[in-house]
Amino acid sequence: MWNSLKTMWIIFLHMFHRRVTIEYPDEKPKIPPRWRGRIILSRDPDGEERCVACYLCAAACPVDCIALQATENEHGRRYPEFFRINFSRCIFCGYCEEACPTDAIQLTPDFEMGEYNRKNLVYEKEDLLIDGTGKYPGYNFYRVAGVAIGGKSKGEAEKEAPPVDPRSLLP
């Protein structure tokens, strides 16, 4: 009983505290960089799409709001043919970013995505792709991975030995 009264007194005293509310539309809040807002697709340091269409973001998505189709260019570099996020379903949980092995998909501090028409919340690859590396500069999946793409043959990735010549007689 005493406890409850004490609580009430403390709460009552809050009358004299400063209000923490930020009056949002009039006053812009300061959003931390790791805020989980609008999702983007980033590019690697060479300006190519980072997304390799591995489908892990789609699999991780608890509301299944990511759909994509993988395709390859003539040199074997894989990328998404289309990449669609239905933001009217997205819950901004950030699992897609955690699942992404290439740092391609990232959540940004932008949250002002209101629309009058739900259709406008469906973002295609063109709407998602940005021109920079986003939060993670420097990483380029294809420089590390052992697949050959245009401009990088076998054995030219990081920490790779030159390819074995299967016709060599040397032991």
């Binding site: 390799v52 699999a59 709001c65 990511i66 189709q69 239905n86 290439t102 739900r118 054995g155």
Partner: protein, 973 residues
């Protein structure tokens, strides 16, 4: 319980029946089979023991060191020693530990070593998400890469349009070569180099020769070999909507799992059926699926306003209304069914037109052949074996059928059958059969008796004891001679050459000496004498007290089922048309131009007032129809197929074609694709006879069919009916990780469409439903917690390598008449006599190309040969032909075949002259020539019933080009 297992473990012919003993795993007793390897027993008991190189069908070699366990001497022994489970036999009282810390650490370190050179590319690897290496790495708990050195790399090879090569991912388990060389008999692929540089590939870039190369995709535990057709429209396993299905590209009825995403079929995977295909599929079955996505699909009803008007898109209502008008205006319609359509579809057509107006849609010769095969299997004493039983046969005679090309999976089964006799040596030496390397060392090049008598060389000749080449008549004579040698009461063959006589005696002797002799023949050489000769051999064996098997290869997925429905040939249909009482032709899933002579089909179609076509692919016949209705392929429909064994198997719809989804997701490719039986039901209703077909689901059709045709009654039990539920839930076609549900249609409408219902099966088009293992005929995919790769299959079998839990799916419709004496066939053909100036054209079958649907898949088309005419080099030089020259072919008029049921002797296409490049086949007899069967590039020639006589002439170089152009035109038609 006796267990029949495919592959290595199946060879129980001479092995003592498995005794159950007790083994102790981590101090608890478990039952196990005496002498079996511990890895298999542990997996059968449900333990998760990692492994790589072992495969239930390939046996143990102990190469990867991954299945390490601790073995203890006795109860007091606390130290134990590490052994490889796959190389240790389960003996009574053996004490082992899987959980022992030292064994765990050992296994983890093996995984770590294997990962030392593994590239950092799972995100772009097609195996990702269904990778055995991923599963095992997780199972071993290897998470951190300590190795800081450089990774070894390789260049890849281009292995053709089917299999993609990415050598960096290899972990050197040797499964690929063991399958490709040891199991499937391929020669052009091997392990090269040594130590950590071992390279699995060909001596140079090039198409893998074996027609089983696609199995490397499933055999490889990681992503070295992946499906190249899937790569073009790549989808992860968890995103594929799958359903149990049956292959439609030959008569064997292999079980498959097709996968769909975004409305297109993406790939086919093997669906284990211990009695049929076991662990492996042929490449035609695996890669032929792309016809479903073909641009030649009929997606909307087409109508012809009047006689010469072009076909125009029409609504479903208009088309049905038109059909109702035609059928209720007193017209008498006949229906032409198809051996590539399901029993239910054929039955629905039979119901529409009436039993007597139903025709099978085969040429006179083919329908007679089929009827006689069915008759032989039903009335004779010889049992038709399943593919698994073929593997168990220990002496085989192949008469007339090029099985490697017409029924490839049967060829693979024969490669196992020849191991049955030499395996006895290994058993005598005390080597358990799972010890693969030791067994092969013991066997060396020894093989069991396999005699191959065919028209031309086959790809399984390398394992044959003796081969024999000749035209069908000669093959038939050989068969009759063998039968006579086995049982003197069988008819004698007059004027037999001594070589054939001795060959026949050798064959008879070997067959007689075998425990499970088997005779294989088929419709491939189009000759009734060959079919009958094969029956005589099998019956002669049965009559002399040998349990002989008799296996006929039939060309299409439901040949036998259609034959059981009955129905006359196309020639009889023409006869009925000529009577004038009939004016409407309803053709279902059948391109008549592939069935018989073009001229005859032309006449048949010309005398008909209304031609109605129900099919999924545009072809020459559909182009002439007045009403075309879009039918569903195997992936869009459910139905029952009867394979060459007489096994009825249900295939289930994989996806709903775009038209049924409530929004217009597929853009302008929306359509009205529906199951043939649904179209036919609606036609029956439109014709005002709705009472005949009160069918709302496939079960109703199947039940009506079983009622109407008592022989087909077992098809009811081929799979559970549509009201089957587990825990009152349906079985989901989509895996529980299926992604993109709320985004895949969002570009069209943000309102998600309702999940389509499925009144026809206990499966649902959804990720919701019963999460456990369904009954064997309803398994939509193999997956188990921790086992994302195909190896999850282990969890679906009673005993690893054995039949599926609940028994292998399928219902046998045909059982032999035991103990009844049957009269032998007496029509021994005369020997082949060459005709001066004329050649007997023999059909040359091609695994890639001869089948109607698979050739529409780009990858198969790429491997299919160009049209050619094969000649003996001596004959060719007589004609003045050199390699690369073109030959003119002039078919003999069909006046010499009054027995074919044609009224009168119509001159057939007398002026048709064909030009074909010549190819040499030294094994062809003088006076015979080979013509590839069924290639679309042949144009109207594809429909000619072979063998047939024709005149050959060297083509003039100058006109050759022009001729080609003309041919090209015909093909387009």
């Amino acid at each position: 319980m006796k267990r029949a297992a495919p592959g290595v473990n199946t060879a129980r012919v001479c092995k003592c029946e498995a005794d159950v003993t007790t083994i102790h795993i981590d101090n608890r007793p478990y039952p196990a089979k005496d002498g079996e390897n511990l890895l298999q027993e542990c997996l059968s008991l449900g333990f998760n023991l990692p492994y790589f190189c072992w495969h239930p069908a390939l046996g143990s070699v102990g190469a990867c060191r991954q299945c390490a366990i601790k073995q203890f001497k006795n109860e007091e022994d606390k130290r134990g020693k590490i052994v490889m489970a796959c190389m240790t036999a389960a003996k009574d009282g053996i004490r082992i530990s899987i959980d022992d810390p030292e064994a765990r650490e050992f296994r983890a370190s093996v995984a770590e070593w294997l990962m030392v050179n593994h590239p950092h590319d799972c995100p772009v690897c097609d195996e990702g998400g269904e990778c055995h290496l991923q599963d095992m790495t997780v199972m071993n708990g290897h998470v951190y890469r300590r190795h800081r050195g450089r990774k070894r790399t390789f260049h890849n090879q281009d292995l053709g349009p089917l299999v993609n090569h990415e050598m960096n991912r290899c972990i050197q388990c040797y499964r690929c070569t063991r399958f490709y060389r040891d199991y499937a008999g391929g020669r052009d692929f091997d392990a090269l180099m040594l130590r950590d540089q071992v390279y699995f590939g060909r001596y140079q870039d090039g198409v893998l020769e074996s027609e089983f190369s696609g199995n490397l995709v499933e055999v490889c535990p990681t992503g070295v070999f992946t499906d190249k057709t899937l790569k073009r429209h790549y989808t992860r396993k968890w995103d594929l909507q799958t359903a149990p299905s049956v292959c439609v590209h030959c008569g064997l009825g292999c079980n498959t799992i097709p996968g769909e995403r975004y409305g297109t079929l993406r790939r086919i995977r093997n669906r284990f059926n211990g009695a049929v295909n076991g662990y492996f599929l042929c490449d035609r079955g695996r890669y032929g699926y792309e016809f479903v996505n073909s641009g030649r699909r009929i997606r909307q009803p087409l109508l012809r306003k009047h006689g010469t008007a072009p076909l125009q898109l029409a609504s479903k209502r208009d088309a049905l209304q038109r059909l109702g008008e035609i059928l209720s205006s007193g017209a008498r319609a006949i229906g032409i069914g198809s051996p590539r359509a399901s029993i239910e579809a054929n039955f629905a057509l039979r119901t529409l037109v009436g039993r007597d107006q139903f025709y099978l849609g085969l040429s006179e010769r083919d329908s007679r052949l089929l009827a006689s095969i069915l008759d032989i299997l039903k009335k004779g004493p010889a049992r038709t074996p399943s593919l698994h039983e073929v593997e168990l046969a220990d002496a085989v005679l192949v008469l007339g059928e090029d099985v490697a090309n017409t029924a490839s999976r049967l060829g693979l089964a024969l490669r196992q059958a020849v191991r049955r006799q030499p395996e006895k040596m290994a058993i005598k030496m005390g080597i358990p059969l799972w010890n693969d390397h030791a067994v092969r060392e013991a066997m060396q090049e020894e093989r069991g008796p396999l005699f191959i008598a065919t028209m031309a060389d086959t790809r399984i000749d390398d394992i044959a004891t003796r081969t024999f080449r000749g035209p069908p008549d000669e093959l038939g004579r050989l068969g009759f001679a063998v039968a006579h040698a086995l049982d003197p009461t069988a008819p004698q063959v007059p004027d037999l050459s001594s070589t054939i006589q001795t060959l026949a005696e050798t064959i008879a002797e070997k067959l007689k000496a075998a425990e499970r002799p088997l005779v294989i023949s088929g419709m491939g050489c189009g000759d009734k004498a060959v079919v009958e000769a094969a029956a005589n051999v099998a019956w002669a064996l049965c009559n002399t007290g040998h349990a002989a098997g008799l296996c006929y290869a039939v060309p299409e997925c439901n040949s036998l089922g259609a034959a059981m429905l009955g129905g006359d040939s196309l020639e009889s249909a023409l006869e009925a048309m000529d009577d004038g009482a009939v004016d409407t032709l309803i053709i279902m899933e059948n391109d008549l131009y592939r069935r018989t002579d073009a001229a005859m089909v032309d006449r048949l179609l010309a005398v008909t007032r209304h031609i109605v076509m129900i099919d999924h692919i545009e072809h020459a016949t559909s182009a002439k129809a007045d009403v075309v209705l879009p039918a569903a392929t195997f992936a869009e429909a459910d139905g029952t197929l009867v394979n060459n064994e007489g096994r009825a198997q249900r295939f289930f719809q994989v996806f709903v074609p775009g038209n049924d989804i409530k929004d217009d997701i597929r853009g302008d490719v929306t359509g009205d694709i529906r199951e043939s039986w649904r179209w036919l039901r609606d036609i029956i209703v439109a014709a005002g006879r709705g009472d005949d077909a009160r069918w709302s689901s496939l079960d109703d059709v199947t039940a009506a069919c079983a009622r109407a045709i008592p022989n087909l009654e077992p098809i009811l039990h081929a799979a559970p009916s549509s009201d089957f539920r587990i825990d009152s839930q349906k079985i989901p076609r989509e895996p529980h990780r299926y992604s993109g549900r709320t985004a895949m249609h969002a570009n069209v409408s943000v309102q998600e469409p309702e999940q389509p219902g499925d009144p026809d099966s206990p499966l649902s088009f959804s990720m919701e439903g019963y999460p456990g293992n369904p009954p064997p005929s309803l398994i939509p995919r193999f997956w188990a917690p921790g086992w994302n790769s195909v190896q999850a299959l282990n969890k679906f079998q009673d005993e690893v390598g054995g039949p599926l839990k609940g028994g292998d799916p399928g219902e046998r419709l045909i059982e032999p008449m035991q103990g009844k004496k049957v009269a032998y066939f007496q029509n021994v053909p005369g020997g082949f006599k060459p005709c001066a100036g004329e050649w007997l054209l023999l059909p040359m079958h091609h695994v890639f190309g001869s089948e109607e649907l698979s050739i529409l898949a780009p990858a198969i088309a790429e491997l299919s040969p160009q049209p050619y005419l094969a000649l003996n080099p001596a004959d060719a030089s007589d004609l003045g032909l050199a390699a690369g020259d073109e030959v003119q072919l002039h078919l003999r008029q069909r006046t010499d075949a009054p027995a074919d049921g044609l009224t009168g002797t119509e001159p057939m296409a007398t002026a048709e002259i064909y030009r074909l490049p010549v190819r040499f086949k030294p094994e062809l007899l003088h006076g015979t020539a080979g013509l590839p069967a069924g290639l679309p590039g042949l144009g109207v020639l594809a429909g000619i019933a072979l063998p047939a006589w024709g005149e050959l002439k060297k083509a003039e170089k100058g006109i050759a080009e022009k001729g080609k152009a003309e041919k090209g035109k015909q093909v387009e038609e």
